[in-house]
Amino acid sequence: MNWKRSIIALLASAPVLALFAFGFTRNPAEIPSPLPGRPAPPFTLAVLTAGEGSHARTPGDTIRLSELAGKVVVVNFWASWCLPCRTEHNALSEAARYYSDKPTQFIGVLYNDSPSAGVRWIGELGGMSYPAVTDVESRTAIDYGLYGVPETFIIDPAGRVAHKHLGPITGDVLRRVIDSVLVSSGVADSVVAGAG
């Protein structure tokens, strides 16, 4: 019984087992995005529903990212067929209202859905306090590296992606990120001068 060879063989198998053990600490479905820290991809999107207060836009108009320089932009991708989108809806609407006096703009981008279904969904859930926009052929979704809904991007006033959130977002996360972006970009104290 050649013990020396046995030990060597055993040691050779250790890295393989370690690799598998490592595999358990990882989630293969979680893909990190390369966007945070980089300039946010520009978009031009048509407004579907108006929203309220300082976030409001006229349906039929377009929103361009370039127009939103100097504001914290929250871009949320959603769809009426997406169940988790329902759970985050209230958090987003409330956060939008909460930050309406700060230089922020919330936008809800409808993903692979019919506009009528989107409008109906908004109505069912009691309204969206920020504009919903349509994304033709998902060009913007692809530009943002979307691989499911809901996903939320928070863009700082300098136009860089500060944060990407996978899955339904909560009020806590929204407040934490938006507050830190506002502070670090020095626009925390400026107040938006009423609805546009």
Partner: protein, 679 residues
């Protein structure tokens, strides 16, 4: 009630198996061999107990007993009966139960067939199988318990995964897969038994092991082909192999098993490559456990992945134990197992088999590392990468094309050795086949170099293998004056292993042609049609007749009816691709429709439709020669069946074969002469 009976049976089986495992070394060491009867009895009892549990599960599924946790998870009153029965293996816990049952069956079969043999090989082999069975039994009463009571009892369940309810092949592929996969435990058990009982250098365990490996290999081949067929008919993209991690997991042991089936012949004739052959046998089993670990642990994303839980940790534990035990045993005894090697000459079948093993092992390692690489890259670089079809195709196709060529060389060369001049004479005739195929391939438009090589080598190997039959039959006719059919039957019966093997080769060649043609010449088009409009792809035309819908208990079905038009515009067939909207899922499952012929398939998938049925978007794919893949699978299985039922006489070590002119018959192995003397 059903659940309690089944769960109790499984609990008892844990005890029975533990008893069998512990009792074996005790019985052998102490010399009380009558206790071995208890060990064998444990194998039979375990089979009985697991059968009770399995029957109970099927009963619970069919009677919609939602108080049983597994039924509550996959059962539904609206699922058709057939799919209810086969949901036994459709989700995690049920599949583990099914694995345990197949393993119990194999254990009982091994004991039934071999327990009368003297020596310690069978006891220790049985012990090994029982130990593996014990692992699964522990899973079944613990983390993977399918019989947990559910309270309050729900009125109905969600039904099986919607992808698994669409096609009859779901009744075929998993059982074949388990018969193959689980069956590879048996040769492994013989290998371990041989080492532990100090019989690793004898040929007895090799003979036994080989036949069980051939049977498992046959099942696994059939399972892989059936899985490809299922994927082709259900998933809607017109492909049959995506290098998905779990597909790869079934391919890896197939590769090492194929290598084993060849190297074991060198071991028998030359008494060399012992350690290597043993390693292949052991590696095959380890790869099956690895495969099942990858499916059930969730560490790799895959279409096949079962829902995860703590069960992955248990499988990691099993891999660790299996790897450790086998590495210690094999490495520790390697000195004794190894035998000195001596070849008669370079121009021999043995050399070809060495090359065959090289390429098979290279493909296996490439696929293994490619499959695990996303994990490796994440561990080392911290980045998520994908390793998909383009990579695997690029890196494995050259080796696989080389293997096709070798399939033609091996049968033409003799065992032992021969001169290079003689080898050249033997290897020349199949070149005609190669040339014919090359010409045909170029004539139909093959441009890719690998496709051209593949076709050429298929021609070479086909002619090489068929020629072996012809030469053998011709020799018999000359020697005995037999008619062609008699010559064929007697030839095959005289050496089933060899001629069964050539049949399997021919089956592989059919598969190779089907795969090469459908990859190189596939054409597709997608279009939105109004009723009455046509779409033409590569000379095949379909016309949309209409869009329809119907309700079924578990799903809504939307379909499009298409006429297939012949050259003159007459209707030559109908195709009805469908989309199935299951109530429990928001993702529709497409069911493409396929019109098959010897020349290939016309494949139609329904991509989208207007809600009022005004139009339909269809994708039409023309896939040449795809049915040759399924047919080839059948031929391979026939070959393995022929090769399995041989007389069991082991091949006699070869003397140096005399150099022979092409018109002489190839060397008649000594056993042929024995047969001729006896008939």
């Amino acid at each position: 009630m059903t659940g309690t009976i089944a769960h109790s049976a499984l609990l008892v089986s844990v005890g029975v198996l533990a008893l069998g495992v512990i009792l074996t070394p005790v019985a052998v060491r102490s010399g009380r061999r009558e206790w071995l009867q208890l060990v064998y009895g444990a194998a039979y009892t375990n089979f009985l107990l697991v059968t009770i549990a399995t029957v109970a599960m099927v009963y619970a599924l069919v009677t919609h007993d939602f108080s049983v946790s597994y039924v509550a998870a996959v059962g539904s009153r609206s699922t058709p009966l057939l799919f209810t029965i086969i949901s036994l293996w459709g989700a995690l816990e049920g599949s583990i139960l099914f694995w345990a049952w197949v393993l119990a069956m194999y254990a009982a079969a091994v004991v039934w067939l071999h327990s009368r043999k003297p020596g310690n090989l069978i006891p220790y082999a049985t012990m090994t199988i029982l130990a593996v069975a014990a692992f699964f039994a522990i899973l079944l009463v613990g983390p993977a318990d399918p019989f947990r009571p559910v309270f309050p009892v729900p009125a109905d369940g969600p039904g099986p995964n919607t992808l698994l309810q669409n096609h009859i092949l779901m009744a075929v592929h998993p059982p074949l897969l388990y018969l193959g996969y689980v069956g590879m435990t048996v040769p492994f058990a013989f290998a371990i038994g041989a080492i532990v009982s100090n019989e690793a250098t004898s040929n007895e365990w090799t003979l036994l092991s080989r036949r069980w490996m051939l049977a498992s290999w046959g099942f696994l081949t059939a399972a892989i082909i059936a899985g490809m067929w299922w994927s082709y008919e259900v998933l809607g993209w017109g492909g049959y192999w995506a290098w998905d991690p779990v597909e790869n997991a079934s391919f890896l042991p197939w590769l090492t098993a194929t290598a084993y089936l060849h190297s074991v012949m060198v071991q028998e004739r030359r008494n060399m490559l012992r350690l290597w052959t043993l390693n292949l046998c052991v590696a095959t089993f380890v790869l099956t456990i690895l495969g099942t670990f990858l499916t059930r642990s969730g560490i790799l994303s895959s279409v096949h992945a079962f829902t995860t839980g703590s069960i992955g940790y248990y499988f990691l534990g099993l891999i660790a134990v299996v790897l450790a035990a086998t590495l210690v045993l094999v490495a520790g005894h390697s000195d004794r197992i190894r035998t000195p090697g001596k070849l008669g000459g370079a121009a021999s079948r043995e050399t070809v088999f060495l090359l065959n093993n090289l390429f098979l092992t290279a493909v296996m390692l490439t696929v293994l590392i490619g499959t695990l690489y996303p994990l490796i890259a994440e561990a080392i670089r911290g980045v998520k990468v994908s390793v998909g079809e383009p990579f695997f195709n690029r890196m494995t196709i050259p080796a696989m094309v080389a293997l096709i060529f070798l399939m033609g060389v091996g049968p033409s060369l003799p065992w032992g050795s021969t001169t290079w001049a003689d080898a050249r004479k033997r290897l020349a005739p199949p070149l005609a086949g190669a040339l014919i195929m090359a010409v045909i391939a170029i004539a139909v438009g093959t441009r890719s170099i690998y496709a051209l090589l593949a076709f050429t080598f298929v021609g070479y190997a086909a002619m090489g293998n068929l020629r072996e039959y012809w030469v053998g039959m011709r020799a018999r006719r000359r020697a005995h004056g037999e008619s062609w059919p008699t010559a064929l039957t007697r030839l095959v019966r005289g050496n089933r292993r060899r001629y069964g093997g050539y049949v399997a080769h021919i089956g592989i060649l059919f598969v190779a042609v089907g795969v090469t043609a459908s990859s190189a010449f596939r054409t597709e088009r997608e279009a939105t049609l109004l009723p009455g409009e046509t779409l033409t792809v590569s000379g095949k035309t379909v016309r949309l007749k209409g869009v329809w819908g119907r309700e079924e208990p578990q799903r809504s079905v939307i379909g499009a009816t298409l006429d297939v038009l012949g050259k003159d515009g007459a209707v030559t067939g109908t195709l009805e691709p469908r989309m199935n909207f299951y109530r429990v899922s928001d993702q529709p499952v497409p069911t493409p429709d396929v019109k098959s012929s010897i020349k290939g398939d016309l494949y139609v998938n329904l991509m989208a439709f207007e809600a009022n049925g005004a139009n339909a978007t269809i994708k039409v794919i023309v896939e040449p020669l795809v049915p040759w893949i399924w047919f080839g699978g059948l031929v391979i299985v026939i070959g393995s069946i022929i090769g399995m039922f041989h007389s069991g006489r082991r091949a006699v070590p070869v003397r140096k074969a005399p150099a022979s002119a092409p018109s002489d018959p190839p060397e008649t192995a000594p056993e042929d002469e024995i047969v001729e003397a006896l008939t």
